[in-house]
């Protein structure tokens, strides 16, 4: 891979050229302490020092509400992809969010390829940027604190310049279009990059051990901790909405006023919602909140490991910040591991 140096004083000019590669979306300040990814009004509005945005990047690829088909008597179901040709450039994406997209890629590919997701994926460029972890970041534990692919360009702060890693052909095109702004990387730049990288790794305040957690999840399937969590959880689904790798969706048909045509849409869903596993006739396979909380953890930390070889959590910390009941995934994992609470009763043993 190719490294180049982009002096910070050239950023204004660099970003002014970026427009030709797509509409630029970047982190913007929202209210006092929140950030959101959105279309930039001007470069000065971009908040590159952000910790995390409220919603993750999945909103660009798997839209919160998405029209899949227009249907009518006579014409049947006609597929439609909103913004299919709209070119976007996401500027200032953190490693954990890039990693999360790589996880979503696995889900939406496979035997049946979701063309709604991949059409947008092919039209949206990603320029990553490094970050400073705060108290909720545990991406290091989830091995999502750095990425070596999944971006077109990745910028790492080395003081008065960024070290720019060129990831794709599009990234290379961007560099070529702004070539005079870039400089060759010196030995000192590399030393500075390594110094900062090591410092960053040491700066994580939150760490959880997950290597054998899938197995522990199995053993602790009957742990009373799940019941305690069920008592606290409000089933609001906020954790799923803000999660960069939660992809569950519901599908519904919307009729137009003529009663003869309409749209088939999908909408973000959450396994915390009571209806998630409800089948026609009234049988609900996860009726209790404790079943559903446990399922969410089980799917991310155990189920995904079995299917794709790694947990589907990237340690972004969004669910910790968003939970109105103050359920903290790091605390839950530590409790299940027994690192904090010591021991707890296994009421139901291995019963199903």
């Amino acid at each position: 891979m190719r490294y180049l140096k982009l002096p910070k004083e050239k950023m204004d000019f660099f970003t002014s050229v970026l427009h030709k590669f797509g509409e630029i979306h970047a982190p913007l300040k929202k209210g006092e302490k929140h950030f959101t990814f959105g279309k930039i009004p001007n470069w000065s509005a971009v908040a590159l020092e952000y910790n995390r945005t409220i919603l993750p990047l999945k909103k660009y690829f798997l839209k919160p509400v998405d029209t899949l088909f227009r249907f009518s008597i006579g014409k049947g179901y006609e597929p439609t992809i909103e913004d299919a040709d709209k070119k976007l450039l996401l500027f200032g994406v953190h490693s954990c969010d890039i990693y999360a997209l790589k996880i979503l890629d696995l889900v939406f590919a496979g035997m049946y390829v979701d063309n709604y997701y991949f059409t947008r994926r092919s039209h949206i460029g990603i320029i990553g940027i490094d970050c400073v972890p705060d108290e909720h970041c545990f991406c290091h534990s989830m091995r999502a604190d750095t990425v070596s692919d999944g971006f077109d360009l990745f910028l790492s702060d080395i003081g008065d310049a960024y070290l720019a890693l060129v990831g794709t052909s599009l990234g290379d095109d961007i560099v070529l279009a702004t070539r005079p702004l870039f400089q060759e990387v010196t030995r000192a730049d590399i030393e500075e990059y390594k110094r900062r990288s090591n410092e960053r790794t040491k700066s994580f305040k939150t760490d959880v051990e997950l290597r054998d957690f899938a197995g522990i999840m199995e053993m602790e399937y009957g742990s009373a901790t799940w019941k305690d969590l069920g008592d606290r959880c409000l089933s609001c689904g906020s954790c799923s909405m803000v999660c960069p790798t939660c992809y569950c969706y519901d599908v519904y048909d919307e009729l137009n006023l003529d009663q003869a045509s309409g749209q088939r849409k999908r909408i973000w869903d959450s396994c915390l919602r009571k209806e998630h596993a409800l089948v026609a006739g009234g049988e609900n396979f996860r009726e209790h909140r404790s079943d559903r909380v446990k399922f969410r953890y089980y799917h991310k930390q155990r189920g995904f490991v079995a299917e794709y070889g790694r947990p589907s959590c990237v340690g972004c910390g969004r669910c910790i910040v968003a939970c109105p009941a103050k359920i903290d995934i790091v605390e839950v994992i530590e409790k299940i591991r027994g690192e904090e609470s010591g021991h707890y009763s296994i009421e139901h043993g291995a019963s199903r």
Binding site: F71, V113, N115, F118, G281, F285, F295
Partner: protein
């Protein structure tokens, strides 16, 4: 995006896994209360010719304006052209289907799911055990076996319902009791009509009327949870291998293709890893039955 993703995206343009194909209702055959057998035929003749499935697979059925629901295919791939779905009137989509008449148009996409491992089952005996409406996904396997009778050794059907009025496809099942090379055992919990000439008693009692060599038999089971519980017990008592007990499961499904998340059990998706699971799968997956 890397090249594999791009090629996937390119491929995706050609096939949309969510695309329903229009089909018309050919016939509606009332079977028992709120359980009718609907026969469908695709409008597009090319679809009629190309559609095939494995016994045990399902389709996603759309009724215009009401959404989609997963329904097992009840017909056998040995009888192509018409897709038969035994539909229970239980939710929004199926309610809407019951308001339609023959020649009305619906959307169908699929087939989905793993289906029964028929290649692996060939050369062995078949024991098909269905309780109540559980016959719907197993009827496909039953007719597949009857139409390919030489592929299997003994074929046994055990079917149980609460009362004669609850026996699904009653005429078809009763006529099968006279069929050669099929041991068709039917029972009702209680005969309140005086017209029932088959067995009376709970489904597991039918094991008393069948000779089963568990070493060379695959058992396919579907029914309400209580059926699973007692039938599994009987099969295990007879030393069935856990890999040769096959079960068809029902879950909420919104996509049918392993994306929407609703049908997950433990770490598997019912729609792509199932809906046919072995008993070995079941004891390793929480919440499965």
């Amino acid at each position: 995006m890397d090249t594999t993703q791009l090629s996937m995206a390119h491929h995706a343009k050609e096939r949309n896994p969510y695309q329903p194909q229009l089909a018309r209702i050919v016939r509606i055959l009332p079977m028992v209360k709120d359980n009718y057998l609907f026969q469908f035929r695709f409008l597009d003749e090319a679809m009629v010719k190309s559609f095939t499935h494995r016994p045990g697979q399902f389709v996603m059925l759309s009724v215009l304006g009401t959404g989609e629901a997963p329904i097992s295919i009840s017909s056998s791939p040995t009888r192509p052209g018409i897709i038969e779905l035994c539909v229970r009137r239980a939710g929004r989509v199926t309610e809407a289907l019951y308001r339609l008449n023959h020649n009305d148009v619906v959307g169908i996409r699929g087939p989905y799911g793993n289906g029964f491992p028929i290649e692996e089952m060939q050369g062995n005996s078949l024991l098909i055990i269905a309780g109540g409406l559980g016959l719907a996904p197993l009827r496909s396997l039953l007719w597949y076996a009857l139409d390919n009778r030489s592929l299997f050794k003994d074929v046994t059907l055990m079917y149980g319902a609460k009362s004669p009025a609850d026996v699904i496809a009653r005429d078809e099942l009763v006529s099968l009791t006279n069929r050669q090379y099929l041991n068709c055992l039917l029972t009702v919990d209680k005969d309140d009509t005086g017209t029932w000439k088959e067995h009376v008693g709970l489904l597991p009692h039918l094991f008393d009327y069948a000779t089963i060599d568990s070493n060379n038999t695959y058992a396919a089971v579907c029914g309400p949870p209580i059926v699973f519980k007692f039938v599994l017990q009987k099969l295990l008592e007879r030393n069935f291998s856990k890999n040769r007990i096959l079960m068809s499961l029902e879950r909420r499904m919104k996509c049918g293709v392993g994306k929407c998340g609703h049908c997950s059990v433990g770490y598997k998706y019912t729609c792509i890893h199932g809906p046919i699971f072995t008993y070995w799968d079941a004891i390793n997956l929480p919440e499965i039955i």
